[in-house]
């Protein structure tokens, strides 16, 4: 066996160890991005999630102006954390619609009473079918939809203060 070949197993071992250390230090991104970005919102029509507020259908999201579509649920803890940021976006003139995932009207009403109601429309999605059609994989998530009903941007997880400028910029870009 040649001299260089004799060290091949050691080199291999070092390479494998380096790969393991690298993955431990920098865990892979486990977020599941929607492939719907750049595509039109799929067809859906959801009934009203709370009395006194209209439900949500595809055509409501193609009204000429960009809108923010928030996927939330009253049972979702991070959704409580992002509620003030949605209020802030609403204050800055952003039109926000929502899809309530696997939720009851009375629970949603209680959630909105406690954490604020920034939504124009809320559609009820009791079996996550609209969520799956959008390529969303959890709550909360938010989509920037332009005036023609095309998905421009997906934000995964709660909107925290430092995300607000990026979302406002995406909404501006979608104009």
């Amino acid at each position: 066996m040649s001299r260089t070949l004799r060290f091949a197993p050691v080199v291999l071992l070092v390479l494998v160890l380096a790969a393991l250390v690298w993955r431990l230090a920098e865990p892979p991104d486990t977020k599941v991005r929607s492939r719907m970005t750049g595509k039109p919102i799929p067809q859906f029509a959801l009934p009203a999630a709370v009395p006194g507020k209209p439900g949500l259908a595809r055509q409501d999201l193609a009204g000429g102006e960009p809108r923010l579509l928030n996927i939330f649920a009253s049972w979702c803890v991070p959704c409580r954390a992002e509620a003030p940021m949605l209020e802030e976006l609403k204050r800055r003139g952003v039109a926000i619609d929502a899809i309530a995932i696997r939720d009851r009207p009375e629970d949603i009403a209680a959630f909105l009473a406690q954490h604020g109601d920034p939504y124009v429309r809320i559609g009820a999605d009791p079996t996550s079918q609209a969520q799956l059609a959008l390529g969303s994989s959890g709550v909360p998530e938010s989509f920037v939809v332009d005036g023609r009903g095309i998905v421009r941007y997906q934000h995964i997880g709660p909107i925290i203060p430092r995300d607000v400028p990026a979302i406002l910029a995406e909404l501006e870009k979608a104009r």
């Binding site: 696997r102 079996t127 996550s128």
Partner: protein, 136 residues
């Protein structure tokens, strides 16, 4: 005594809810009446990845979204849709990641070719070894 009571209260406390209070979707845990359709749905569900418990198929997962995905698969199979069309619908939304079956696309060619190459390399090694022994 008070410490004991506090401990008992803590043990009885329910953890913060991370799931909804709605029951599973209708077809999430219910078999289709047509056995052939159910078999087709089952085969597809075993090849679709759960979105939140990323190492499990939706057939194995107890996550609510996996139940909702099973509901979607059974509903569409019952409506006469082909499993490949349902898979394509999901791949369009979540990427090839959502399907455990690798696609027959250029990006996956190394995956399909690897066993053939390895088998060839193994055969070559065996032939050379046998040849050496015969000569030696």
């Amino acid at each position: 005594m008070r410490a004991l009571l506090v401990l008992l209260a803590l043990a009885a406390a329910t953890p913060l809810r991370a799931d909804s209070s709605l029951p599973p979707a209708y077809w999430a845990d219910r078999q289709l009446p047509d056995a052939r359709q159910e078999a087709r749905a089952r085969a597809l569900m075993e090849e679709l990845r759960c979105l939140v418990c990323q190492g499990q198929s939706i057939a194995d997962s107890d996550a609510e979204i996996a139940g909702d995905m099973r509901d979607l698969v059974r509903r569409r199979i019952a409506a006469g849709e082909r499993p490949s069309a349902i898979r394509a619908w999901l791949v369009e939304r979540y990427g090839h990641w959502v399907s455990y079956r690798p696609p027959a696309e250029p990006v996956a060619w190394p995956l399909w070719l690897a066993p053939i190459l390895l088998l060839g390399a193994g055969a070559l090694l065996v032939v050379r070894r046998l040849g050496l022994r015969r000569r030696g």
